[in-house]
């Protein structure tokens, strides 16, 4: 065999390997960018939502918040339940709060459908498992997604104890039946998406779309959004005055969606 060729192949192999190993070091040295808030932006030490379950259940078939969210964010409406993409939806109480369900529960409550969404956990397992930092926690607690970096491995979906994350099993655009909103990016196939607490509205000084429409339709206090670190905030006061529960608190994820019951 030609020794020169072999030597060349060896050298080339080592060079590729070396470049591969050097890349992470170079990236790490580049450093991170610190966020700055825009003028008029809503800011918080820790964003949270309190959902008043009794009030919400008075209008059990209401979909105002869900539709507002899904239209605003170009969320596709896919019929097939196993390929569905959803940011905000309803699940039976007995599945959402399995450990709080017992045979003597309030008549009918077990099957009543309560609102579920990303819990924006303080200790998010999805962020812990993501191999590319495509999902991360902002300083104000919002768990964000970078759909341009996501490789579609779905480890975050596997790690989320709430089933709050959706994968685009196909190109979602043909399923956006309400017409594509140009002011919010659509997603491509093969990436994960979920609720973002409407960061695009917060920068404009607006609360999340679901909260805004809910309080119009069902009356103020059905959904309360605010800075939970601020004791004077509406959300902090609502939690102080009432009894609230969270989904699977025993897992230590520290969900920031509170259910007032």
């Amino acid at each position: 065999m030609d020794e020169n060729r072999r030597a060349f192949l060896k050298a080339a192999g080592c060079a590729i390997l070396g470049a591969g190993l050097a890349a992470p070091v170079a990236r790490a040295a580049a450093g991170a960018v610190s966020p700055e808030s825009a003028p008029g932006e809503l800011t918080a030490g820790r964003w949270a939502i309190a959902i008043n379950v009794r009030k919400c259940l008075q209008r059990e078939d209401c979909r105002a918040c869900i539709d507002a969210c899904h239209v605003a964010h170009n969320v596709p409406q896919i019929e097939d339940p196993i390929r569905e993409v959803k940011w905000l939806w309803k699940e039976p109480f007995k599945d959402t709060f399995a450990s709080a369900t017992h045979p003597h529960l309030d008549k009918g409550l077990a099957d009543k459908r309560v609102l579920v969404l990303c819990n924006h956990c303080d200790n998010p397992p999805c962020v812990r498992v993501c191999p590319t930092k495509a999902t991360w926690k902002r300083q104000d607690g919002i768990v964000m997604m970078d759909q341009h970096r996501c490789i579609g491995c779905r480890y975050c979906i596997v790690g989320c104890p709430y089933g709050s994350r959706s994968f685009n099993w196909q190109d979602p655009r043909p399923f956006i039946t309400t017409g594509i909103r140009p002011d919010y990016p659509t997603r491509t196939k093969g990436v994960v998406e979920k609720c973002t607490f409407c960061t695009e509205r917060l920068v404009k000084g607006l609360p999340p779309a679901c909260v805004e429409v809910c309080n119009k339709v069902s009356g103020p206090g059905t959904m309360t959004f605010g800075d939970i670190r601020d004791p004077k905030s509406e959300v902090a006061r609502a939690l102080k005055d009432g009894f609230s529960i969270r989904r699977k608190p025993e897992l230590g994820t520290e969900p920031q969606i509170f259910y007032l019951v």
Binding site: R27, P81, D95, P125, R128, P131, T132, I151, G152, K248
Partner: protein, 385 residues
């Protein structure tokens, strides 16, 4: 040395032809998945990982099991494995390659897969899995290349390779441990949230990997002049026996904890596997087949007269491989998702296209084994002539 792979018998070329055809068919099937997305698979919201990731998990075990020939030979100077180590290393190379391919086809955005290197994330076990798998592949290529070229030239391998070989021993354990940690560190999935997952993975790996090696050795013995040696094959069968016994013990330990504690979220998964849950029981016949095969194989392996008879050993080893393949390649991953965190029982079955893609990857892996083993056999034949 590679030229040895280009001259072979009609039988060799037929095998290469069949495996290449299957691999190409798999690649063509993959093109559709690449253009339309993972919607072509049977995966969905509730079961986001399936056939691909399960095959990856099974094959990491096969790759790790090379340590079962490397360790006795290099640490204990067990000479009988001298002719076998290269086969173990070649099997590891092919297995890790299949693992990487299975991960690749599972990605929603395969073109971005290098983001794992570009944005290294030490808190993600998937990052570490990539590191240990790549490392293991490089180690095995290096070790196999250096030791085998030395052997073909009739000289002793350079002394610097010895520490590299010793490093590959704990490294082999690490690849399957890290792969188990992918699953066992998730509060969201009580089925995998058990400290015994990594030990169980290793036990089943050390049963299935050496079984595959025995099967390959017996095939080589029959169709080529290459003989790994009766003593070596018998010793491998002994390793399979111990590993299988430990594996079955671990399974029983898990079943005890789940059913005696009677904690629903732990119990439900095992109920789904062995009894069916809410009328869903797709995996039940497979799991019972697996358990019956495993116990039968162990009983037969425990009988020295049966174990040492290669006519019986061949089908027993196939039984061990099938039993563990069902356990890891079908049951283990999917059951973690059934029931889902929201209590839903959504069953999963791979689509035809998904299965074709998986078959294509297996064909590619066995093509690598065929070519590497052909080289090994030809070089040894020349040396002995």
């Amino acid at each position: 040395m590679l030229e040895k792979a280009l001259r072979g018998s009609r039988r060799y070329w037929t095998l290469v032809g069949i495996l290449s055809t299957l691999a190409v068919a798999g690649a063509i099937a993959y093109l559709k998945q690449l253009s339309t997305g993972l919607v072509v698979t049977g995966l969905g919201r509730d079961v986001p990982w399936g056939l691909y990731i399960a095959q990856f998990t099974f094959l990491v075990g096969v790759a790790a099991s090379a340590v079962m020939v490397v360790l006795p030979y290099y640490l204990h100077n067990y000479k009988a494995f001298g002719r076998l180590t290269i086969l173990g290393e070649f099997l590891a190379i092919a297995s890790v390659t299949m693992c990487l391919l299975f991960i690749f086809v599972d990605m929603g955005q395969p073109t971005r897969v290098l983001n794992v290197i570009l944005y290294p994330t030490p808190n993600s076990l998937m990052f570490w899995d990539m590191v240990v798998l790549q490392g293991y592949l490089i180690l095995n290529i290096l070790i196999a290349y250096v030791t085998f070229t030395s052997e073909s030239k009739g000289v002793h391998p350079p002394s610097w390779i010895k520490p590299v070989i010793l490093l590959s021993i704990p490294w082999a354990i690490s690849i399957h441990t890290v792969t188990a940690f992918l699953y066992s560190g998730l509060g969201a999935r009580p089925f995998w949230l058990t400290a015994i997952l990594a030990p169980r993975f290793l036990a089943s790996a050390f049963a299935s990997g050496p079984s595959l090696l025995i099967v390959l050795c017996l095939i080589l013995r029959k169709y080529t002049k290459f003989d790994a040696g009766e003593e070596a094959i018998r010793k491998l069968a002994q390793i399979v026996t111990y590993a299988m016994a430990i594996n079955i013990f671990f399974v029983l330990v898990e079943l005890f904890t789940a059913f005696y504690s009677d904690i629903p979220e732990h119990k439900h998964h095992f109920e789904y596997l062995f009894l069916g849950l809410h009328g869903h029981n797709a995996l039940v016949p497979f799991m019972w087949t697996s358990q019956i095969l495993a116990v039968t194989a162990l009983v037969l392996l425990l009988l020295p007269n049966v174990r040492n008879n290669f006519t019986y050993l061949f089908p027993i080893c196939l039984g061990v491989i099938l039993a563990i393949w069902i356990e890891k390649g079908l049951g283990m991953v999917v059951t973690g998702f059934i029931p889902s965190p929201l209590g839903k029982v959504t069953e999963y079955s791979p689509t035809l296209r998904e299965s074709l893609i998986a078959l294509g990857i297996y064909a590619a892996g066995f093509l690598i084994i065929t070519i590497l083993y052909k080289i090994a056999v030809s070089v040894r034949e020349e040396l002995e002539a």
